[in-house]
């Protein structure tokens, strides 16, 4: 009896050894919320994956994974099938990622744009898109004739609200009469609906369109209507060559390569990364010459100042819609406040959906 038990134990040891040696090849998995062909958010993450692959590391990806129960299944599946590092690239994957991470302590997880790191094998990362929004706001404030900026928003989460606020603050600074009109579409990706939202905003007098959704439909609608627009996540210039003033570009590639190599070499540790213009995780596409040389120069200077830390997107005094002070004069908002931002600043119209 005792002998048998020992035999089992030994064979189990062997099996375990075999098991790990069979899975020795290092693999990275990616979970995307949209199709890799969205030419926006997911497209840029996929470019990052391509860079990891080019660095000689094996990767797999699953695209168009809905945020919710399906996400957990997909993440679990990737963890089970021998992936050592898994990037989950949408806000809505936050809870599923942490849930799966608990059951797979040896697998490392990287969740984009979230704030929950409930287990030591979960890191979070995001880009300071709001720095890009500040530049867009500056340009919008200068370029608008109707003083109305149309903003297509996806879901009422801090990241989206932060973008709206950063843009509005920057626009107000150069044009105090500015109004930001917001339409919530409650989707990251529905070209038809995004186009309709853009058209509604244009019909309501907006002559600048920007969006926090993932497709190129809004810029095309703007092009058709002859108003200005901005690209989101990737350079969308060729979809609206006349209308686009610039695009915010998310560049995940360096981060993905760095983290994949760290995980492979065993130097990976839990961290919360929030990179911006300075590190290049947020970049700007070339500025449209229609802006005029002076404005381009101004914006380029602001871009440099934001990167060097000389300027900050949320510099006080900042008030909320009711007039309560959020950031005192001469202070800048700290990262904790930015990460949990859930109120509009003064000058934004309407309420945040609850």
């Amino acid at each position: 009896m005792y002998k048998n038990f020992l035999r089992y134990l030994i064979s189990a040891f062997f099996l375990l050894g075999l098991g790990t040696s069979a899975n020795a090849e290092f693999k990275v998995g990616f979970v995307y919320v949209g199709p890799t062909g969205d030419h926006g958010w997911t497209y840029q993450h996929h470019e990052g994956r391509n860079a990891v692959e080019a660095a000689g590391i094996k990767t797999t990806f699953v695209e168009s994974v809905p945020e919710g129960a399906d996400a957990e299944r997909v993440i679990r599946q990737l963890a089970q099938s021998g992936h050592d590092l898994i990037f989950t690239t949408s806000f809505g994957y936050m809870d599923p990622t942490n849930k799966v991470a608990k059951d797979f302590p040896n697998v490392k997880f990287e969740h984009a744009t979230g704030y929950k790191r409930e287990h030591s094998n979960v890191s979070t990362y995001s880009a300071r898109f709001y720095e890009g929004r500040t530049l867009l706001g500056h340009i919008a404030g200068k370029m608008t004739k109707t003083n109305t900026i149309g903003y297509i928003a996806s879901f009422p989460i801090p990241e989206v609200i932060r973008g709206i606020n950063a843009m509005t603050l920057a626009a107000q600074k150069v044009n105090p009469n500015i109004k930001t009109k917001i339409v919530w579409v409650f989707t990251w990706y529905d070209p038809g609906k995004e186009a309709e939202a853009a058209q509604a905003l244009i019909d309501q007098g907006a002559d600048i369109i920007m969006q926090h959704t993932d497709s190129t439909a809004p810029v095309q609608t703007a092009e058709k209507a002859g108003v200005w627009s901005f690209g989101q996540a990737s350079d969308m210039q060729r979809f609206a060559p006349k209308s686009i003033l610039t695009s915010i570009i998310d560049d995940w590639a360096p981060y993905y390569v760095e983290r994949a190599i760290a995980a492979r070499d065993g130097t990976w540790g839990q961290q919360d990364t929030w990179h911006g213009l300075k590190e290049g995780m947020v970049a700007m596409a070339p500025y449209n010459s229609e802006m005029g040389a002076d404005l381009v120069k101004e914006v380029e200077q602001l871009q440099k100042d934001l990167a060097s830390g000389k300027a900050h997107s949320f510099t006080g005094p900042i008030y909320d819609q009711k007039g309560n002070m959020l950031v005192a004069e001469g202070k800048v908002a700290d990262d904790g406040m930015l990460a949990g931002m859930s109120v509009y600043v003064k000058g934004v119209e309407g309420d945040i959906p609850k």
Binding site: G34, P35, T36, G37, D38, H39, S64, G150, K181, I182, V183, W184, V185, F186, T187, Y189, D190, P191, G192, K193, A195, E196, A197, Q199, A200, L201, D203, Q204, G205, A206, S215, T216, A217, Q220, T221, R238, F239, A240, E349, G350, D351, P353, K354
Partner: protein, 310 residues
């Protein structure tokens, strides 16, 4: 907000443009269902039409070929459905669902090389009159030829079903295939034709999205419109005119709720987003509560497999 009369004209114009894919797909599916075939593959056929139309536009640089090609692609993919359900007698529901999944996957694969290519401007008719006549201009003029076709289609469909002999044949096949067969009608052939016609209309609906409405190819760009078209057919109790009304209400409320947000109405946005679905159902249920008419319009043998005993 300027609530003047010309603004309302522009608004109605954009509502019409947004309801076109629903009208086309639902009108096509209506004929298919009236012949007793339930094809849940609308979304799949639409997306195939969208990619085929866009790819042909890029390859041939000819919008006419692109439009015709998109309809042909719808015909081809619905032929698969027809063969499976009519010749091999598979279950309609399962086959239709498979068709949708297949269509979405296939279109993504075919479309890999067409992502990121901007579309071409689609010509509109009477654009001069659109500007010069207030209110009626933006409603009646300055649309693509597909839109005019879409708005004529429900009336043509109605006429076809009610006034022509062929329409009677289609209805007979849908209501009682056994009796129709005994009358010497080739039930399978009629159903094949109706399936292919439905496929062509769904293909056109998809091409409207990728060539005219948002001229570009992006994966999954139909974003569930096929399912809405399917629901419209049922809630409109298989009446072509009610399909048109339903599609206009759906498109109208979708666009109105976006405007209400932009104006800043203090109504919860989630409620506004649900409004199109809610209102369409309520209105269609109210206008089609005549049970005698429902019985008259409902294809009794919908979704049932028919085979001729030899």
């Amino acid at each position: 907000m300027s609530l003047d009369i010309s603004f309302i004209g522009i608004l109605i114009g954009s509502i019409m443009a947004s309801s076109v894919p629903l009208i086309l797909a639902a009108s096509g599916e209506l004929i298919t269902e009236r012949s007793g075939v339930l094809n849940l593959g609308v979304e799949g056929m639409m997306i195939i039409g969208a990619i085929s139309g866009f790819a042909l536009m890029v390859i041939t640089d000819n919008l006419f070929i692109a439009i015709v090609g998109s309809m042909l692609s719808g015909v081809i993919i619905s032929l698969i459905f027809g063969f499976l359900t009519q010749s091999l007698l598979t279950n309609h529901v399962a086959t239709g669902l498979a068709l949708t999944i297949f269509g979405i996957g296939l279109s993504a694969m075919l479309g890999k090389n067409y992502v990121g290519i901007p579309g071409k401007e689609f010509p509109v008719l009477f654009s001069g009159l659109k500007e010069s006549i207030p209110f009626f201009g933006p409603i009646l003029f300055g649309h693509s030829v597909v839109l005019y076709f879409a708005f004529a289609l429900p009336f043509l469909t109605n006429y076809f079903l009610k006034k022509t002999k062929l329409g009677l044949v289609v209805r007979a096949v849908g209501d009682s295939p056994v009796s129709a067969s005994n009358q010497g009608i080739n039930v399978i052939l009629v159903r094949y034709c109706c399936i292919l016609y439905g496929g062509a209309m769904c293909g056109l609906a998809g091409a409207y999205l990728s060539l005219i409405y948002t001229p570009q190819w992006i994966e999954n760009m139909t974003a569930g419109r096929g399912w809405i078209a399917l629901a419209l057919v049922v809630f409109a109790t298989w009446s072509p005119i009610k399909v048109l009304i339903g599609a206009l209400i759906f498109g109208g409320i979708t666009i109105l709720q976006l405007h209400m947000q932009a104006i800043g109405f203090r109504i919860p946005v989630q409620f506004l987003s649900a409004l199109p679905y809610l209102m369409t159902i309520i209105v269609l249920v109210v206008i089609s509560r005549d049970s005698r008419k429902i019985k008259l319009n409902t294809p009794t043998s919908l979704g049932r497999i028919f085979y001729k005993e030899k």
